[in-house]
Symmetry: C3
Subunit: 142 residues, 3 copies
């Protein structure tokens, strides 16, 4: 079975990598988030949009997205579940992960939508993990 091929420490490392990565994104620490990508990293946060490329490109994309909510204070939390890894040669790992976006506005209840799947290509080396490419698919688009 596929999961038997994944070293235990790699699995825990990927989980922890995602925890810090997504807490950085949700806290608006976009430079920190971009640094979890490779220098030439590719980030497509929604189906059909042009992907952001390179760390500065990812930061610019996130700032542009945030600007749309300037008059609408909102706290987002990206939840992940069922991280399924498929190792490839040369330290590359394909990672397929369920995601739900939790959106909270002041004084109101969280809205939990959309349901997504994250398709990552990860580079796993002795120095740690980096995202080479991230693509998101949305469950309601089928």
């Amino acid at each position: 079975m596929t999961e038997a091929l994944v070293r235990t420490d790699l699995y825990a490392q990927v989980q922890h990598f995602y925890a810090h990565q997504m807490q950085a994104l949700d806290a608006g620490r976009f430079e920190d988030y971009a640094r979890t990508f490779t220098e030439d990293g590719v980030f497509q946060h929604s189906p059909g949009v042009e992907p952001a490329v390179t760390r500065p490109g990812i930061v610019a994309e996130l700032i542009a997205f945030q600007r749309r909510f300037e008059n609408d204070p909102v706290q987002r939390r990206h939840w992940f579940n069922h991280i399924a890894l498929t190792p490839q040669p040369d330290g590359i790992v394909l990672s397929t992960v369920y995601a739900l976006v939790v959106t909270v506005r002041p004084g109101s209840k969280p809205e939990i939508a959309p349901s997504c799947v994250v398709h990552d290509i990860l580079e796993c080396t002795e120095e740690g993990i980096l995202t080479r490419s991230r693509r998101i698919t949305h469950d309601q688009m089928f």
Copy 2:
């Protein structure tokens, strides 16, 4: 404390086993899902229904369930949380896990219900993990 008795690698392996198992179920890969059970595996997906037994029995049950939604396209995602393991002798591990079923229909927001608890008996060997029996309880039935 109970958790100290569980080897680290076992815990990560069970998490990863569940990730692949549930992604197979939600993708409609029922043969793959059934193969995560032992040959004589038992699967009771809802309280009060007769459990499906053996891998072919599990596949048949899932196909019958899916048929009910032939004219109602739907994407389900089974989320898991708080995997609590209690090892028994001979490589048997009891696993109690929170579950939420996320149901998405085209163009609409996810419905998140019911809240369940998964009660698994797992067989953990050098070759990997298999589910010997799975029983689901529903939180709204109390």
Copy 3:
């Protein structure tokens, strides 16, 4: 990167510790929950309330909270996500975790609110993990 500093076994142990801790809380096993804190443990379950201190103090607080729901049967499930650890000297680990409270009443659908962040100080020794202090912040209060 921060996550590289965390030993793999520590990460899996913390995850498993939380699984047992929160299943104890949600099952109403308050003595078991209190024992996951240090003897002088501090637990502030909501912003602005006086924290409960010591294990007997935590049990008393939880019993008092439960009494409010004597005529309102309810099953709560505290879901956790993205456990981000930052180790400190002397076996202390800061843990920042997303949380959603799933509340189920008989025959009805789960309510998923509020969205919170758990801020823990953990003591990690050879004997296992204990919570020294827990503070909860709520996302809708910003």
